[in-house]
Symmetry: C2
Subunit: 526 residues, 2 copies
Amino acid sequence: MPQVLGHNYIGGQRSAAGTVILHSIDASTGEALPHGFYQATAEEVDAAANAAAAAYPAYRALSAQRRAQFLEAVADELDALDDEFIALVCRETALPTARIQGERKRTSGQMRLFAEVLRRGDFYGARIDRALPERQPLPRPDLRQYRIGLGPVAVFGASNFPLAFSTAGGDTAAALAAGCPVVFKAHSGHMATAERVADAIVRAAQASGMPAGVFNMIFGGGVGEALVKHPAIQAVGFTGSLKGGRALCDMAAARPQPIPVFAEMSSINPVIVLPQALQARAQTIARDLTASVVQGCGQFCTNPGLVIGIRSPQFAAFTEQVARLIGDQPAQTMLNAGTLGSYGKGVQKLLAHPGIEHLAGAPQAGNQARPQLFKADARLLVEGDEVLQEEVFGPTTVFVEVADQAQLNAALHGLRGQLTATLIGEPADFVQFGELTALLEQKVGRILLNGYPTGVEVCDAMVHGGPYPATSDARGTSVGTLAIERFLRPVCFQNYPDNLLPDALKNANPLRIQRLVDGRPSRDSL
Amino acid sequence: MPQVLGHNYIGGQRSAAGTVILHSIDASTGEALPHGFYQATAEEVDAAANAAAAAYPAYRALSAQRRAQFLEAVADELDALDDEFIALVCRETALPTARIQGERKRTSGQMRLFAEVLRRGDFYGARIDRALPERQPLPRPDLRQYRIGLGPVAVFGASNFPLAFSTAGGDTAAALAAGCPVVFKAHSGHMATAERVADAIVRAAQASGMPAGVFNMIFGGGVGEALVKHPAIQAVGFTGSLKGGRALCDMAAARPQPIPVFAEMSSINPVIVLPQALQARAQTIARDLTASVVQGCGQFCTNPGLVIGIRSPQFAAFTEQVARLIGDQPAQTMLNAGTLGSYGKGVQKLLAHPGIEHLAGAPQAGNQARPQLFKADARLLVEGDEVLQEEVFGPTTVFVEVADQAQLNAALHGLRGQLTATLIGEPADFVQFGELTALLEQKVGRILLNGYPTGVEVCDAMVHGGPYPATSDARGTSVGTLAIERFLRPVCFQNYPDNLLPDALKNANPLRIQRLVDGRPSRDSL
């Protein structure tokens, strides 16, 4: 395996000016791994942001085709990483080999999908309103609009996706596609993984002739604050806790120049099990739901943390069924000791609440997470009790039995913003509960029907976002190609001669992209 | 003329619960007009936001076609307002009749343009990724995305556009088009105008069967804070000062649920006069530039506040020419006493600065604004001196003579974000100064060539936005059809049966809109 140096990545160079050394941990044993990582000094954070700023004019000036080739080169480098790399990721995260292999494929696939977006050219948002010299009382000048990258983007990786939401993950891919250099803050939970992936990105950048500062990475605790406050940084992507995300939002908003933060934070992902579905297939639902709750030790932002049904003998039987299944699920190792500690506290909070009953699960103890099932009084939802609004990150879920359809609506109205909501039902249910879609649309980014929210497809139509506190800005998504829009802004050219316009706006339409010309979509040359 | 009641507009009713009475002022004489306006109480602000929230589910559920009809009805009502209305606006603002007639047409035209956007359907951003049941290792579910309105929007009108950036102005039109009910905070400078326009909107809402709370309006000083902090409000549109806009941004960011603010604030709109252009047509440039500086008493956010040229005998002669022209311009009445006071202070600040020379203009005194011309040391720009970065709202501009092309670039690098930048040049200039476009793209929302920034066309390609402090979010525009995107967010449906999908996403494509289907734009049914 290539050596893990543990130095920061700044403008194509490695830098280890600091004296604080961090170690990554074997997630299963808790032992420190041999690699040391140099926490970035204030000067190194500054240098990384400045390197990104220095790269910005050259990088954004590259054609979309060149940026696409870069993203594809990153994808190829990721796919070429060896089995030792996979083993390293598993060691740092306790995630199984097959999962990491799948996640690697997802991560390289994501890079390739953004390359397609760049070639498709709709990200330009090209709009042309041609001059109307004869218009009365005043002529209209020629006006043309396209979109450019905002500038250097700071990205904070997630603990639970060491590849797909980390160094070369969705935020990095979206920012690089948009023409924005990246400064990535490596997650302390998988720093060796981050180094191997950063090496892959740097190799791809060099091979495809990118400016040196197009990608930078810093290690360390507390370095994120200096990064977000750095004047060169123009936007932030973050995946993590509500507390952490909100702190970054507050810092970004308080800057002399406020900048946008796209933080994906906290979601309990309600699953609503409707009566006819329970009549028809309670056993299958119980099995699939349990699998979704414990999948990956429940360490997904789309983990179903709340299951709502209408009081009936069928729902009572269904609850018992799920309780039996949850009780049978094995304990699993979590990503790190901090995650396990938070899980224990979250479970404890549910156990201690007088309105919540514990239905299944062995007492939480030892160094693994034990799946748990709870049942909460519907009042807690209707009245918006904090305990049910907070995500407990791990293999647990809370059942809520509502009295009737009216209380179901009231309970859903009481929910905060979510990434997802799921309806499990039969056609007759969707007739009876027809108003649920409109209600849930106001609460979530994605509504699923007869599926489970874990498993987030990377594609054009995906929305991995939603109203606060699911994210800090419901207008974005951090998965899927729409994610690029977070890092773009429009620029308009008035009365520009053709030869001075960017290719996307030239009369001949040399990029062959679709443009909105005088109010009509067109690929024609003008 | 219909009576001006001065009551707040809440959910289709008028309300005057407060005891603080405000008066609008004759802008030319300074005398109070006979109409009294009831400052909204805390309860009335709450009621207005709640009325908007109550209207949201019904309003956003209306078809785009129905919303388009509403906007067109508003446009018709605006166009039908009588000459007494025009006279009232002129009285409250001291703006000339022809300007207000033009602005009314612009305002109704804006409503009709958003109706076109609603019929065109690209605002939906419809994306469909069809199921791939055979895909290995996992099938892909059917995923479909469209965009919905964020929820109730608070809009703060501008002093300088009593119609086009006010009650029925661009932000209101964009929000209503997006499916968002509006609570409008009437500007204290033209409250009677606001009432007449609100009446027009309410008549249109009633005639087209809109829910009662689709449009609400409150009067008063200090009521904006309660509005922005109200939990029902989901976004804010603002046009005004940097101080005011930033205060709203800070409030919105500090809410339990932060919300986006689109504030258009401060811009000095640099005009760069290149050497060959001066050789070819200095006299025309001097005349047109002076006209742009004093147009509408300089009360435009795109007023050219900074003119940069390269040291030469031609630029010196040009400066003298503009000084003569500015010296000949008559004093004009400003929008209100506050604006005149600010102008006086801004001029005083320029006069007092040791690096700035006064070139033309009678001493500022009396109740009108006198056009002024200044010349500043180039160092002030290169070093980013505050005095040149701040907008002086009124008929004044500052000339800066740079030593050479390198200092020109350095000076432009020192500029903060702007709404516009303008290049005045001949083809040979654009060869010599080819790098300016890329540099200015990073600084501004709109670059003009051989035009003047005052005059903002309402169309698809316009960007009236730009990096901070020109606006609070460079990703938006407050003029043109792209403005609707500020108030939309994506929602994704996974595995939804066709009959439960919104029309925009149904297989048959009943709206005949263009959609991105499996990565390709298409109007076909599926």
